[in-house]
Symmetry: C2
Subunit: 331 residues, 2 copies
């Protein structure tokens, strides 16, 4: 299989760290230096996630020789679809003029979504002898964040990304993935819908207490997520390397989910990864959930000669859930 | 691959056609004879979809030698998760005590969900060299239906089903699937979330006009869905048979999505399928969305000698979306 091309789109409203500081009451320096966000984009009131995904796909069609009629599968990773039902992939398939014989489904995952879904996409193409898939990611958290919430609104930005994944393509190979789930910590990053009991009581619950747990509102205990990430992600990276018969030193770049700059730097230090191998885009886009990793790859594919290079990809967050894999590029 | 076992669960409240007639103002005879529902179950106020899925999985563990620690993948098909995020699979993985290295994700599909997800599950197992997956379906529409709505409340029932899918199992083989999507008809079966434009204006819109399009409320234009089904599903069944080198006469049973008894009989007549080859469970459970097809298979696996038998499975609805495939049993 191969990722033949990646395109992305951001919404029309661009906000600076100074504006985010005003909204949340946080210090601007804290936002730019610790969280690491200098700019991010948010949806305008008349924009939606499917609009953003459509824009990314139209860019991809313009940049490549892929035609809408040649798309066999459309897979859309989101937990904030335009409607509760139908799936966003059905709406997007129609907007893009894909064939009615295109398979289309959504995958409900957050920050680990791209790494999981890349394997789902590769496998589904292989299992069905299909040729071309579009793998779309878009989770516009601006729709579910309280503007004054320090814990979320200073971190997340809206974006959509799309990968053209081709079964017989040879540009890059996907290794064997490492996956995991710890539902006992689900409450650390959640939009409650008034249904169901939660297994999790945060040890840092006080950080959430100021926000009422109202419907369709994002709540995150940043400290709980940070502790989870520092515990599980280095283990997952180690397992993934072992499973693929590689050492950390053989990896050229690390496309890690961008929870915060502080988290990325702590991870680099823990794993003893040179700073220049860690790809960064949180400064310009914020944490864009499942779009973070493909946007890092998109930029890398434009900027670098990838011949014979290896990129480790790792997503972690909502669930809590994690997934790590390795892309080996031929050219 | 193989489906080793299937289990299902229904919630504690059981309603008769007479009770549904009272709620909706429809004639009881119309509900039992045309829609085909004699009984169906709905969630109690303190029950959720994840509770129901957990009950189905516990039954499966009790009936088989599969241990929670041996589950590599948990795939949960739903468009009505307990929470907007995280995914229901993360919560269920924790409740069942699955290993933290279990891969878990949700698939956002409606009535076509099981047939799609069976291929996703088989492919993901193969692509990752995993052995055991649980494929769960649960979409409790009672949570999103207006009790007085003739178009939905007389049709749908709540249930959860779970299949144990094993990569190296030999009990049955999955054929090559036929998939499709017509997003231009998305508005025929929808829960709007106040976001995004819809492509679809029903030619039978008057049937919906009496209900305000409020948030998180299911709307269905039964006539539009019926027209779509009668147009696309016979074509999909034909394509699937051709793709697998089979004729209609070689199929022993048809496990078709149970939109209504009238629709099933119209389909049997259109395709000239003998009545006794059409499996039925709408009479006892209503239309249980993505759980309908696995529950038909569950019953068949208990009742019949499946040696060398072929079952055509087809799901269609929300999206609008369809998927057809063929299971060939060895024993």
């Amino acid at each position: 299989m191969s990722i033949e091309a990646i395109a992305s789109a951001v919404p029309s409203i661009k906000e600076s760290a100074a504006e985010i500081a005003q909204q949340t009451g946080l210090e601007e320096l804290f936002i730019t230096e610790k969280i690491g966000v200098k700019w991010r984009h948010v949806l305008a009131p008349d924009e939606t996630g499917v609009d953003l995904a459509e824009a990314a796909c139209r860019k991809l069609f313009a940049q490549t020789d892929l035609k809408p009629g040649d798309v066999d599968d459309l897979i859309f990773v989101t937990q904030t679809p335009d409607h509760a039902l139908p799936h966003s992939s059905a709406l997007l398939a129609h907007r893009l003029g894909l064939s009615s014989s295109c398979a289309a489904f959504d995958i409900g995952l957050g920050c680990s979504g791209f790494v999981y879904a890349l394997s789902v996409t590769e496998s589904f193409l292989a299992g069905n002898a299909h040729e071309n898939a579009l793998l779309v990611t878009c989770d516009p958290y601006s729709r579910i964040m309280a503007r004054e919430d320090k814990g979320t609104n200073a971190v997340f930005g809206d974006a959509a990304a799309v990968c053209w994944v081709r079964r017989t393509g040879t540009r890059c190979q996907l290794g064997r993935g490492d996956y995991g789930t710890d539902g006992s910590r689900a409450g650390a990053l959640i939009v409650e819908a008034g249904r169901g009991k939660l297994p999790f009581v945060s040890v840092h619950e006080s950080s959430l207490a100021q926000y009422s747990r109202d419907q369709l509102r994002l709540h995150m205990s940043g400290r709980d997520v940070f502790e989870f990430v520092m515990l599980q992600v280095p283990k997952s990276i180690g397992s993934c390397l072992e499973r693929n018969g590689l050492t950390l030193a053989e990896i050229d770049w690390f496309a890690l989910h961008q929870g915060s700059l502080y988290m990325l730097m702590a991870m680099a230090q823990r794993l003893e990864i040179p700073r220049e191998k860690i790809l960064i885009n949180i400064d310009r886009f914020g944490n864009t959930v499942s779009s973070t990793v493909p946007m890092l790859l998109e930029e890398l594919m434009w900027k670098e000669d990838l011949h014979d290079r290896k990129v480790l990809i790792s997503g972690f967050g909502v669930g809590l859930s994690w997934a790590t894999n390795i892309l080996t590029f031929q050219y």
